[in-house]
Subunit: 373 residues, 2 copies
């Protein structure tokens, strides 16, 4: 199964020697051996090693954030990264990390455990956002970079960037947190908890012991539909779909798809299911629910006070229901209380949580401005 999700052109960082004797200790206990992390890079590292921008991703993307000579396919943040783009690869050495626990080349529940000869599946140890941050740090070490110029992340990647700043306060200069939070709220937890239950309720999940040829694809599809609903915004769909119907197909049965919005969700969730491993989805989703900046100091504010970056940019979107803008305000308030240098941008994008992927105009502007300063 492990090779199914490989992305062309990725590089692999292997567990460096300073983790070697004890393995990769997981934040909540357990050890992983032979950890490999997939990543991609764009641009050139400066002679002083001071121009690295480290990007952590949301739950589902790979490290392929932008096209390159090796992989010309458009990346998930194509408009943002490249020569003369907001994250300018003429100036910066950009590294995008495939999260530990994700199936696009990094060690994950879909990987073969070399010690047992079996796929990890649910034998994979409990995964935390902090582990993903540590794996990103490991990539920097392997590249000989002591300190990132900036660590950036949207969504789960924003949580990971926070975790990085908490775990390695000296190893980054600047921080950009996009549509993320210090910790998940109960409504968001309930969405992700139900997504996981949808996967686990598919009889083909088999308590995580499915095989490649009989994966719980229907559960994945249902979970992805719920995800897509939480990633966008009601008013955007009102403008885009309203109550438009699709052409009924021959032999149309009661409860078959009738509305365009149903067709959109069906099409997009169908596309996703063969692209992501169900157990990886479960682990990453749960890691987001469990993450809490308050575990790094007793309260969220005490945690944020431990971050020692020179500049911090927090971006939130008013139409986001998954990480509502109150949660980015909580981060900004925490930086304010701790007298940190920060900027908080509240964007009017209508596309909800996914705005960073699609609202090129607003996001290009705020990210460009940050790097101009």
């Amino acid at each position: 199964m492990s090779n199914d999700f490989q992305v062309k052109g990725i590089k692999i960082a292997k567990l460096p020697s300073d983790y070697g004797s004890t393995g990769f200790k997981m934040f909540k206990g357990g050890v992983l051996n032979n950890v490999e992390i997939a990543y991609e890079t764009w641009g050139e590292l400066s002679i002083n090693n001071d121009n690295a921008i480290l990007i952590f991703t949301g739950l589902s993307p790979s490290s392929h954030a932008a096209s390159s000579n090796i992989n010309k396919e458009a990346g998930w943040w194509e408009y943002m990264i490249g020569p003369n783009k907001p994250i300018d690869t003429n100036k910066y050495f950009v590294i995008c990390i495939n999260s530990l626990g994700s199936c696009f080349g990094s060690t994950s529940p879909a990987t073969l455990d070399k010690e047992t000869g079996n796929i990890y599946g649910t034998k994979f140890p409990e995964l935390s956002i902090e582990d993903i941050a540590k794996a990103g740090h490991m990539v920097l070490i392997s590249l000989g970079i002591d300190k990132a110029h900036t660590v950036i992340g949207p969504s789960m990647g924003g949580m990971t960037a926070l975790a990085y700043a908490l775990l390695y306060p000296k190893d980054l200069s600047n921080l950009i947190i996009i549509s993320a939070a210090a910790r998940a709220l109960p409504f968001t937890i309930s969405i992700r908890s139900l997504q996981r239950e949808l996967i686990r309720s598919d009889p083909k999940w088999e308590k995580g012991n499915y095989t490649k040829d009989s994966a719980p694809l229907n559960g994945m599809k249902l979970a992805r539909k719920l995800g897509l609903m939480s990633y966008r915004a009601a008013n955007e769909w009102r403008e885009r779909f309203n109550r438009a119907r699709i052409k009924k197909k021959e032999g149309q049965k009661m409860f078959d798809i009738e509305f365009e919005v149903e067709s959109y969700l069906d099409h997009n969730s169908e596309k996703f299911i063969s692209m992501f491993d169900p157990n990886c989805y479960l682990y990453l989703s749960r890691a987001m629910d469990l993450f809490d900046v308050a575990e790094h100091g007793g309260t969220v504010n005490a945690g944020l006070a431990k971050i020692h970056t020179k500049r911090n940019l927090i971006i939130g979107v008013k139409s986001d229901i998954l990480f509502p803008i109150d949660q980015q305000k909580e981060l900004a308030d925490g930086f304010e209380k701790a007298k940190k240098n920060y900027s908080f941008k509240k964007l009017d994008s209508i596309q909800g949580h996914d705005s960073f992927l699609v609202d090129e105009e607003r996001f290009s502007e705020v990210i460009s401005d940050f790097f101009k300063d």
Copy 2:
């Protein structure tokens, strides 16, 4: 299966003779024979037959809106209906209708089709909100009531009350629409569409041909969880649950319930699944998606202009994500354009769509005020 969901103390209205020769013609085609509608009443009908209040319900409640001498159990709107309560049974004759298509005594997909000797299941004809309104009208006729004093409905019941006012404009004096809409928006459609898919994805659904002993209970449970998430509001849950954990049970496994919000959803969805028939859920849910006031005149405003009630009260809740307050404003704007007598109350209740069930203070006040005038 049909008797499992019976509610103590209900009365049954049988298809009256004026529908008898042709059966009950469904709004979108098809005919039902031997239609029976369950209902309950409180208070006494006045000599002039002019004090009847007709209540239509949301998707899941029975006709047991309040306790009575026959059934002392609290009803779903107990605080609202009774002697000296906002809907005062000392003054009014109150009738609550179990929707056509619901499993609490009315003819529905869970009923035995007397002509075939089988449960209807998915052989039940396509159900519309208009059919539910017509069935309510049938109950009034059977009670010898020509004209309702007021027709009230929350949620799906609000759509049904609108349909009643459109189909029988002379047969009611006043209208109260609570947390409802002229038609469903794509985000709401997507929630209900996914709920139906969750039920249909349970292998035990068997294309609707399940038996009582092997109903798709897991699909129902998942659908109900998603429902509960859409019925409440993120900020209420933040105050109520935040990130509180439950006590882990012995043998706790990864992905088992950990947060209180997960436990709340699990408990409440578990309670529901034995109380409602899955096929009935599918039919009623779909009827809500298909309902559109614009079908009664070309546009929503043209439809609303056909309503000839003396007074109209529209109530919306600012924290509702299922029927957002913009949609109640759309109704108010329609009444305004058509120069109708109306009042629009925007409530600050924090409990989302379900507020009418739990925010006794705010809802008691606006309903009391309406009947005082």
